[in-house]
């Protein structure tokens, strides 16, 4: 302990900006040894499988005959794009993605703004906000399946007996089931994103708020004209992370199905691309087709991230 403290003070004293270190340091060759364990494991269990997936996607491959698959060119991709299941899953991934991320990020922004004050019990509120994030997606989905139960679920009970509305079929109709799946995602991730925004807000220079307050700006105007511009990089970060998460959504729609089947409900209302890929590969034993789906998902993610980044950057430039 004392050592660390001594070091910390030493750090502070010596942390004056000195001449840039250009000299070649010893240990630069050893650096390869330090990154080697990471890259060896990463290459073997991540990079190689990604590339091999591309290879598999050009073959007709079955689980039973993995070593005897034969070349089919782009037939799997043609097959995939010609199938209505793919377009259904693509649409579902998109709509569930919108329903689960847009309200989530807006609420997170509001919550962060609310908590960005001097208040008692800050730690308590922050930990409570993060409890859903600590709950596994499997547990959360199983819990929400019961809450959204059509006959005995708490949500329908409140709708029917407290608000005197009709019961909603959260399983068997399209939009309610998509909203239910999105609710699970929103519940688990809103607090996490709120904390990220809060961290970003606390890094904003406080004198900007002082200046705005002197100019007579209300708290709402301060939020619009100081907080939001200051948060741009953080907002972009959360949008990118949420887009990636939404594009590969899998566990929630799989477990939301009452039988645990990868069909997204009996009519495929909430079958996402991730679930479709699992169904093709592990239920239907069409690994080549599943691999084609996986690569298609990757391309979609890259496009979605690029589009989001472009839109945020353009707004950024426009507002300057």
């Amino acid at each position: 302990m004392t050592l660390t403290h001594a070091r910390r003070t030493a750090v502070r004293v010596s942390a004056t900006p000195t001449a840039k270190r250009r000299r070649r340091r010893p240990g630069s060759r050893a650096a390869y040894a330090y990154v080697a364990p990471f890259f060896l494991i990463f290459a073997a269990f991540a990079v190689y499988p990604w590339l091999d997936t591309a290879w598999v996607s050009l073959h007709d491959t079955r689980l039973t005959t993995y070593n005897h698959s034969h070349w089919v060119g782009f037939a799997n991709y043609r097959n995939l794009f010609g199938h209505k299941f793919f377009w259904n899953a693509l649409k579902n991934t998109f709509t569930i993605g919108i329903i689960s991320t847009v309200p989530q990020l807006l609420m997170a922004l509001g919550i962060a703004h609310l908590l960005n004050t001097r208040m008692r019990g800050r730690t308590f509120f922050r930990v409570a906000l993060l409890m859903p994030y600590a709950t596994s997606l499997a547990a959360a989905t199983v819990i929400f399946v019961e809450l959204f139960g059509v006959d005995f679920g708490l949500i329908n009970w409140v709708l029917h007996h407290v608000l005197h509305l009709g019961k909603i079929d959260w399983q068997g109709s399209k939009w309610p089931s998509q909203i239910a799946v999105s609710t699970i995602v929103t519940w688990r991730w809103t607090g996490y994103n709120a904390l990220i925004y809060l961290a970003g807000m606390q890094a904003i220079d406080e004198t900007l708020y002082e200046a705005a307050a002197i100019d007579g700006a209300s708290r709402w105007r301060q939020f619009l004209h100081v907080t939001i511009p200051g948060l741009r990089p953080t907002i972009l970060f959360t949008i990118v992370v949420s887009t990636i998460g939404a594009s590969q959504l899998f566990g929630e729609p799989l477990l939301y199905d009452p039988l645990g089947q990868p069909s997204g409900g009996t009519s495929g209302y909430y079958q996402t691309l991730g679930v479709l890929m699992y169904q093709q590969g592990w239920t239907n034993d069409r690994l080549g087709l599943a691999a084609a789906t996986a690569w298609t998902m990757f391309v979609i993610i890259v496009l979605a991230v690029a589009l989001n980044t472009y839109l945020v950057r353009r707004r950024d430039r426009a507002s300057r």
């Binding site: 004050t117 922050r126 499997a138 199983v142 005995f152 990220i196 961290a199 708290r219 590969q248």
Partner: protein, 295 residues
Amino acid sequence: MTATLDRPQQESSRRRKRNSSPGKPFAAGPSTYIIASLITLVSVFPLYYTIVMASHTNSEMAAKVPPFLPNGSFFTNLKAALKLAPLNKGMFNSLIVSGTVTIGTVAFCTLGGFAFAKLRFRGSAFLLGFCVLTMMVPMQMGIIPLYMMMAKLGLANHLQAVVLPTLVTAFGVFFMRQYISSAVPDELIEAGFVDGASSFRVFFSIVLPAARPAMAVLGMLTFLTTWNDFFWPIIALSTQNPTVQVAFQSLATGYAPQQSIIMAGTLYGTLPVLIVFALLGRHIVGGIMQGAVKG
């Protein structure tokens, strides 16, 4: 040690700064507390209601007005749940997997993060950029060859199949690199080299002590993520030798899916993590917020 002792200090100095600065325009009013409490309620209510559902019989839950307070049937329900799904085995397996992965990730990512932060070597910018870009790759991308690889190695249905691919993460390397870059001044590293220390000695005596808070946070985040991981375990493992998440699936989708029994099993498998989280939560919160500013 350093992690637990250092952080409150940093925290308190930050708090002092925040409170004393006249610039913070808004103190929390009563409405802030009311809204914050409502949000807290929404966050925690599903978990609370799980306790309610898990401690009643099914017919009690189907009453005209469902109960809102816990009751006494939890252990009866749990007994039935344990018969339906191997939850104990699942928790034990999850503990082994998460523990191993946490140790591996923290060790390898700290080493790699140090190299990227403080050593200059050919290709480092490219390798780091590659690392960051791979975070965009969906988990579905590698699943098929990975499964085949594990089958060939004879590891399918073994815990090693889950441990190996998650032993390092690109996020971990990037996280440690960001922390070490700012927490350890270059001058200190330089001084170590001038004194004739080897790079490993520099790592061990200078970087490691300074990086301990970040290692603790990365460890907690990794443990939580691995414990909660679902996609790869359900492919790599069978329901006979599951992690706890896989056991949840067979509990919820098995025959006779009785609400109270499913909830009792889910609560049993979730509660340990939630208790640990409630105890360590402030450090995890701090870690996520720190990572956000630097990342």
